[in-house]
Symmetry: C2
Subunit: 332 residues, 2 copies
DNA sequence: TAACTGCTTTAAAACGTTTTGTCACTATGC
DNA sequence: GCATAGTGACAAAACGTTTTAAAGCAGTTA
């Protein structure tokens, strides 16, 4: 039915091993033989069976990608970076959504190992102990992309979230003393371990008291952001500047302010943290910390290829540079 | 090194076949034997090798997903639908970006067949003849998601783009006679074959002349949309209503109007076509044709599972319902 | 001419499963 | 007590490659 390496070998009067060498670009084949085999391959329409190859070679040229939710802008952008580099190094990716659920993460990880992936890129807001253990026990390399492992024993690619948040906050604190932080999920390590501490430190250094009402946690989407800001405004002690956990939150902030007839940046300033293309698709366009999502994905995948090939890697924990893109939601 | 089915068989004093039956839930195993085997599996930490299984059974429980660009909102949402249903039916997905490039599409398709996927979901703005032929020659089922095959010989899931566009346009034509259509790429079959003809028909039925300047083709992003609208306004014969090819274009339209001090919907009305979450993340929120992206992906994957299992399928070309969500960018 | 060298090529084992044909055993019916 | 089903389990082949050890071969060298 389907054409196998055996058929090619027979037609070309060579052994399977020789066909295998030709297919895999091994140099130990006489040019004349190579030509003959190539012709037969073309004539018969032979397509190597990657599954059989995987079984024999113990390599699948496939890596697993576990992601909270591909329909989120952020993770989609990260994934694009991963996939591009994967393609460059001739890997395919098996993609699966975890919905940030530990059980699913563990189960997906196991499934992927069962499928004999050569490595895994993992994105997770929180690397739980069970997940940590599973990764440590993995027979293939694992790299975290845009995710924090607090033990720092697992390879990962991130930016310095603390410094980035601190800079953004300092920017606002130059002109404001009522600065709110509308944050994403509290169990997201980047929030609990870096952004919120950065907020606290930035205020403390200005000898300002921390008003807990100005730290709104667990805002997960646009609507919740709009609502949170409305509540802040109606509280009678409205902030004059906002630091947004991400662009979607920032959009909610800007629109809630607009709905309350507050001008940005004249009346209120806003800085976001992400800089997806959304940041430029609002009026006013958002000043934002640039989270290089594509690069994080790409570097993570590149790192994974090195680990797979057992190449020397200088540092397992890579920190990419960040910067603040000044646009129209701040006074500059 | 790694635990194989053979190790389990030896430890449990049964044959490999029996272990295989237990693992695969085959009923022809005595409960006592099953229990014994299960215990050994647990004790040894046996994890079946899906690659070996794939070779022996000729099934990989993996499907290929070829997508123009995962970092696009639209395709990410479609993919989420695909992946959810894939998971439900115990499939994994191999995801790859084609960048809408025919060569890449063909090559990815070939790679996936080489990896012995059980089926493929394909998204492509244009099913070229070469791609069509490759699909027809495929040894495994292929389903198009949100993509048009003009020969209608390939399984596909879509909405009635013509009717949807026609309805949106009719809506605008009730109050306007200067209606522009800011369209996406012309080589996207949905545009060239359905939306533009719908525009023409809607105008003709009102006995209105078609002003070619009001059909702006090949607008691929927010910035181009902003620019196109600015040019239209500066032309001295500005439209009073816009039909946007998608939400990103619509955002560009709204912001360009805003920049030109035109009020939406008071001065100008806008209808979008897509209704991603972006549509609600603008002021004013967008009236939009609802493109059920998640559902298209989900239904496409469900259809694929049926085809893989050789179940009877009533209709290869499925058309999902659409509707218009009225929000604030039109007068209703 | 015989031994040696270095390059090609081969035959066969290995990879870890599923699946098929067969056999052994138990319970049933007469 | 004997043939008859029906279960449950086994042995071995098959899946389509890669890889390893060994052999073949042509050209050198002494």
């Amino acid at each position: 039915m389907t054409v196998t390496i055996y058929d090619v070998a027979r037609e070309a009067n060579v052994s399977m091993a020789t066909v295998s060498r030709v297919v895999n670009g091994n140099q130990n084949v006489k040019p004349a033989t190579r030509k003959k085999v190539l012709e037969v391959i073309k004539r018969l329409g032979y397509r190597p069976n990657a599954v059989a190859r995987g079984l024999a070679s113990k390599k699948t040229t496939t890596v697993g990608v576990i992601i909270p939710d591909i329909s989120s802008n952020v993770y989609a952008e990260l994934t694009r970076g991963i996939e591009d580099i994967a393609t460059m190094y001739n890997y395919n990716i098996i993609l699966a959504n975890s919905d940030q659920n530990e059980d699913k993460e563990l189960q997906l990880f196991d499934t992927m190992l069962g499928k004999q992936v050569d490595g895994v890129v993992l994105m997770s807001d929180e690397v739980t102990p069970a997940l940590h253990d599973a990764i440590e026990a993995s027979p293939v390399p694992v790299v975290l992309a845009g995710s924090i492992d607090e033990s720092h024993t697992i390879a990962s690619v991130n930016i310095d979230y603390f410094a980035a948040a601190y800079e953004a906050l300092s920017h606002l604190l130059k002109r404001h003393n009522k600065v709110a932080f509308i944050s994403g999920p509290e169990n997201y390590t980047v929030n609990s371990g870096y952004k919120i501490p950065a907020y606290q430190k930035a205020l403390q250094e200005k000898n300002m008291e921390i008003n807990e009402h100005y730290i709104i946690k667990n805002i997960v989407n646009y609507d919740e952001s709009v609502q949170a800001v409305n509540e802040l405004i109606n509280s009678g002690n409205a902030p004059t500047a906002y630091f947004a956990g991400n662009d979607e939150i920032a959009l909610g902030i800007v629109h809630a302010l607009y709905d309350n007839n507050l001008q940005v940046p004249t009346d209120v300033e806003v800085i976001s943290f992400e800089d997806t293309k959304l940041a430029r698709m609002v009026r006013p366009q958002l000043t934002s910390v640039v989270l290089p999502l594509y690069d994080i994905g790409a570097v993570a995948m590149r790192l994974l290829t090195k680990l797979i090939n057992k190449e020397d890697v200088e540092e397992l924990t890579v920190v990419l540079p960040h910067r603040i893109e000044e646009r129209d939601s701040t006074k500059g």
